[in-house]
């Protein structure tokens, strides 16, 4: 860019500098300064646990800002978190069998309890059921004032690889929580009581009452909105 201004042997100012050159220089300076936003940055921050990391932009559906409190059965071992799991455990039984337990959460109704339970049914090769028939297979309880749907479904008799899912869907005011235990039917039978105790131990902090305003919206409102 400076080459525009260099004319050897003549003073810089009177050497026919084009006004356009100055404008070009100004533009280049502006352009360079506006590039800052697309630079890769490295910075250090005080260490924060992954559990606290789970907040997000104000207007996006987000993982929960605060996890509920729960008591993990002593037989369960914590597993590394992966993808959408907020908690992950493993329970080992005899003969190398193990049960996998996961906790995940989505804003709003997460597509509906019915469709999610039918998806679990599909994973153990059971038919999709409609509202009433499905309701008959479910157990409904309340934990810490939160309605909970309990599911227990396994592969049909004679399946090549028997599998079972024991799950719970907890519906708080603004989120749906899924707790799911999968594995061979025998180990799940042995862990069923632990699973129930785990669900009963859920305690939700600052549980707001459900209202049309917050359920399923996952959005913050502007104070300028009428």
């Amino acid at each position: 860019m400076t080459a525009l201004f260099v004319h050897p042997g003549r003073p810089a100012v009177s050497n026919g500098i084009q006004p356009g050159g100055l404008l070009l220089l100004l533009s280049a300076a502006l352009f360079c300064s506006s590039c800052n936003q697309s630079k890769i940055a490295i910075y250090r921050i005080p260490k924060e646990s992954v559990a606290i990391e789970t907040s997000s932009g104000s207007l996006v559906p987000a993982p929960p800002a605060m996890l509920p409190k729960w008591t993990v059965p002593s037989e369960w071992k914590e597993q590394p978190l992966s993808e959408m799991r907020l908690a992950s455990f493993k329970a080992e039984g005899s003969g190398g069998q193990s049960a996998d337990i996961s906790v995940s959460s989505f804003p709003g109704d997460a597509g509906g309890i019915e469709s999610n339970i039918n998806r679990w049914r599909g994973q153990v090769h059971q038919a999709v059921l409609d509202g009433d028939s499905l309701a008959q297979t479910l157990e409904r309880v309340t934990v810490d004032g939160v309605p909970v749907v309990l599911v227990d479904v396994q592969t049909p008799e004679g399946a090549e690889k028997p599998d079972r899912v024991i799950g719970a869907v907890l519906r708080t005011a603004d989120r749906t929580w899924f707790v799911k235990m999968t594995g061979a039917p025998a180990i799940l039978q042995a862990q069923a009581e632990n699973f129930k105790q785990f669900i009963n131990s859920f305690r939700f902090p600052n549980q707001p009452e459900a209202s049309d305003e917050s359920v399923g919206s996952g959005k913050a409102k502007s104070t300028n909105d009428k």
């Binding site: 100055l22 697309s38 104000s58 605060m66 999610n116 305003e213 913050a220 502007s222």
Partner: protein, 383 residues
């Protein structure tokens, strides 16, 4: 030397140039305002006012042809034009004091606007009751953060702006010989249940056992946010460490190891970390008695800055923001049944400039017209 300066600045001081620039500015404001309806305020600002040129493409061609100077170009030319006019026609005289102050105010305003547009930082912090955060997040921009958590007390974050991500692009990271390979990228994506895909061939990224991200058109709506999704691989010294599908709509860090070091990777709204933290103690949404009409929104927060032993409460409400460390926190929104507050965080190093420049321009006008008035009155008295 002076004559050289005058000769140099004279063509730049052309009044015709001023008129052309002002005419272009009128067209720019007009088309920008019309387009704002379609593309929203933020995008309109970027395209029309924080740009050098407006372009159009011929149908079927990738070639971009500029057709109107953008805000940066016009502002820059007007600034140079005004400065040049002063240099080339400058005569130190008491009679010109008003004009000099007036124009200095105008120059200050143009420079201040330039500084604002380049260095301004807009973000938001969303806090649930009792929650503490030491960062705010951009309402528009996203980042791919690769977090080295091997440090004892600190994490090192490599932040790659989402604007750098594009399908097939390979990005060298300035750390540990890491290269980021972008396998796929959606500028905006919706998260849906994996069973909701029309077919397995429908373009999607599997971001978890229960959800997939599908590409959707970019949104320009004021109350919506673009949520990118990406499939990326990390390569260290020619060896692939792992591949992940990430979605900004579900910014959950995924942990992995690169050699002995523990890392996490996440696509999330761009974060601005601060050396202090803010805790929401109480959010109030007062209504007029017997109605749902809002009377007052306020957030009682606790500000803690260990570096200067600051630990105090602050109440943020309408027209009463919290100003701290060059940042201004405004009450902007709420949610979660009034259990969550949203504060707008503005960093604008030149926020005082418009006040000063307007003051200068007002003073310049008063002096200039005052002098005319006095001389006019004197002439009448003499007559």
């Amino acid at each position: 030397m002076t004559s050289n300066l005058v000769r140099f600045f004279k063509p730049l001081a052309s009044l015709k140039l001023t008129i052309v620039c002002l005419a272009c500015a009128m067209v720019l404001v007009f088309v920008g305002t019309l387009d704002q309806v379609q593309i929203g305020v933020y995008e309109a600002q970027l395209r029309y006012f924080k740009s050098f040129f407006l372009y159009f493409s011929l149908p079927g061609s990738q070639l971009k042809i500029p057709w109107l100077p953008g805000g940066y170009t016009l502002g820059g030319i007007l600034l140079v034009n005004l400065v040049a006019a002063h240099v080339s026609r400058f005569k130190l005289s008491w009679k010109k004091t008003g004009i000099l102050i007036l124009h200095s105010g105008l120059i200050l305003m143009l420079v201040g606007q330039l500084v604002t547009s380049v260095f301004e930082e807009e973000s938001q912090v969303q806090l649930d009751r009792g929650q503490t955060k030491n960062y705010s997040e951009s309402p528009y921009l996203d980042e791919l953060a690769i977090i080295d958590s091997s440090g004892a007390n600190t994490d090192e974050v490599i932040s790659v702006p989402a604007s750098r991500l594009a399908k097939g692009r390979s990005i060298s990271l300035p750390e540990a010989g890491l290269t980021l390979q972008v396998n796929d990228f959606y500028e905006n994506a919706a998260l849906v249940g994996s069973n909701q895909l029309p077919s397995e061939n429908y373009p999607h990224l599997r971001v978890g056992p229960m959800a997939v991200a599908v590409p959707i058109p970019r949104t320009y709506k004021q109350d919506e946010r673009n949520q990118p999704a990406a499939s990326v691989s990390l390569i260290q010294n020619g060896q692939q460490i792992g591949s992940w599908s990430l979605a900004s709509g579900f910014p959950q860090p995924i942990q992995f190891r690169a050699g002995p070091k523990p890392f996490a990777i996440v696509l999330r709204p761009k974060r601005y970390y601060r050396p202090f933290s803010i805790t929401l103690e109480e959010f109030r949404h007062d209504r007029y008695a017997g109605t749902e009409i809002a009377k007052n929104f306020s957030s009682k927060v606790r500000l803690v800055d260990p570096s200067v032993h600051e630990n105090r409460e602050a109440l943020i409400f309408m027209n009463h923001p919290l100003r701290y460390a060059g940042l201004t926190f405004y009450q902007a929104g709420f949610g979660n049944n009034d259990a969550t507050t949203v504060l707008q965080v503005m960093k604008n190093p030149s926020w005082l400039v418009p006040y000063i420049s307007c003051g200068m321009m007002a003073l310049g006008l008063v002096i200039q017209f005052g002098m005319h008035l006095i001389s006019f009155v004197r002439r009448r008295v003499i007559a």
